[in-house]
Symmetry: C2
Subunit: 114 residues, 2 copies
Amino acid sequence: MVVKAAEMKKETRSAWRGGDGAIDCRHLAPQGNPPKWRFAAVLEFDPGDSIGEHVHSGETELYYIMEGTGTVWDNGAPVEVGPGDAIFTGGGAAHSIKNTGEGVMRLLALVVQE
Amino acid sequence: MVVKAAEMKKETRSAWRGGDGAIDCRHLAPQGNPPKWRFAAVLEFDPGDSIGEHVHSGETELYYIMEGTGTVWDNGAPVEVGPGDAIFTGGGAAHSIKNTGEGVMRLLALVVQE
């Protein structure tokens, strides 16, 4: 199944998991993700935008940073991230993420259930 | 788990699935992928490079195109792809992919088992 970028469903999520700002979200598979792929989207954060802390149990989330810079709190520990970095969160771990840079931060977010 | 781009393991794969050229591969989780994540890497294709046709059963592969243009054969049917496009292949479907553009084609490839 090929999904062209122009066909992807867009939405904007505010106060996501208690985070700041409004994050633009482009869903990779608007007609329905493959089995177990609970979430698959490209997210765009303006400076200061964030997703608040949350836990992943029975599933793993990958954030793959494509553009910009930010801070990830990986089980509470802050780590600076930028283009090409990957963040895997599963097995009951928690994370949050914030655009702490000066430009847009763009990442691919994928949540796959076990 | 945060994996910085500079720490990722690199390798080059030639004649991948019977394809052409040599594809640079950067593994997102060199210390071991999360459970069920059989493969997670950024792939870089020079013009003409390809991965030959292969089937995904009991798992789904996502190609997310980040840079450049190419052709995907989705169960044999050719589709032109470019930045922002997503290709999901699973449930016994087959695909192959070739850089049919003039510059580098870069994509994220993820295979997750069901």
